[in-house]
Symmetry: C2
Subunit: 156 residues, 2 copies
């Protein structure tokens, strides 16, 4: 399938699931070697899950399909530029490329906070609208360093 | 429970689940009015889910417990500063406050990409290591604008 065919399908999927009451107007497809391996759509309100953005749902489905947490070589098609949560998830999943339609300003124009959250993330912790407080750094750090000493582990 | 008691429990949870082979050394607790309503821990490798960070797992559990996608007033305790995926998820979930232990540099010191992904997200799309391409913006935008016209919908 061409990029345009895949994007056309994503736009139709987003519309269908929005009209079905699943959540916001967002859809996603992940491909490997040009074949579709997973579809996802926004399910925030229908699942009561604020993390159930189309991309997150689709990444999880693709990982289930491949039985792997590593989507190296796979490509993500979305009808709107990923929000910071989904873009960071794309990095963790090691996706090879993202093809998107509308952008974060278009999302803002229909009432979504993607652009605002991008701005928040670029601020120093003390300047964000969501208060963050650091405590017990030394104890936390000591615990985390056990990871380095573990012999039987799966790195990711 | 005090902040210190909650952080002590999170550090212990992170250690316990890491040693059990669930995933990386990260744990989370969400409280409401001082009571624990959900726990989460990293399950990336055991679930084959790159989005299964402690905070995401915990946010989903808290939302299931409250039957809501809105965690306004709730607080997140984590043994390490949230990565961009999890921090953005905290905004989407409308969490009131984050208390964390170690920071993203500590995560980098044990081999995790949190700080690197933060840097990627602050770059313009064209400068990122993950290639992004925009196509069919007009068609995608038109589809998304149907959201504004939908009368029976649940805003989030």
């Amino acid at each position: 399938m061409t990029n345009q065919e895949l994007m056309t399908e994503v736009i139709a999927l987003a519309r269908e699931k929005m009209l079905a009451g699943e959540g916001g107007p967002f859809g996603a497809i992940i491909t490997r070697d040009g074949d579709i391996i997973a579809r996802g759509w926004n399910r925030v309100t229908s699942l009561n899950d604020p993390t159930a953005h189309a991309e997150i749902v689709c990444i999880r489905a693709a990982c289930t399909a491949l039985q792997s947490f590593d989507l190296s070589g796979c490509e993500l098609f979305v009808n709107c530029e990923p929000c910071p949560m989904c873009l960071a998830a794309a990095y963790w999943a090691k996706l090879a490329r993202i093809v998107y339609g509308a952008d974060q300003q278009d999302a803002a124009a229909i009432g979504f906070a993607d652009a605002a959250i991008f701005t928040e993330l670029t601020r120093d912790a003390g300047q964000r609208s969501l208060p963050m407080q650091q405590i017990m750094a030394q104890e936390a750090r000591s615990g985390m360093r056990l990871w380095l000493e573990m012999e039987q582990k799966t790195p990711y």
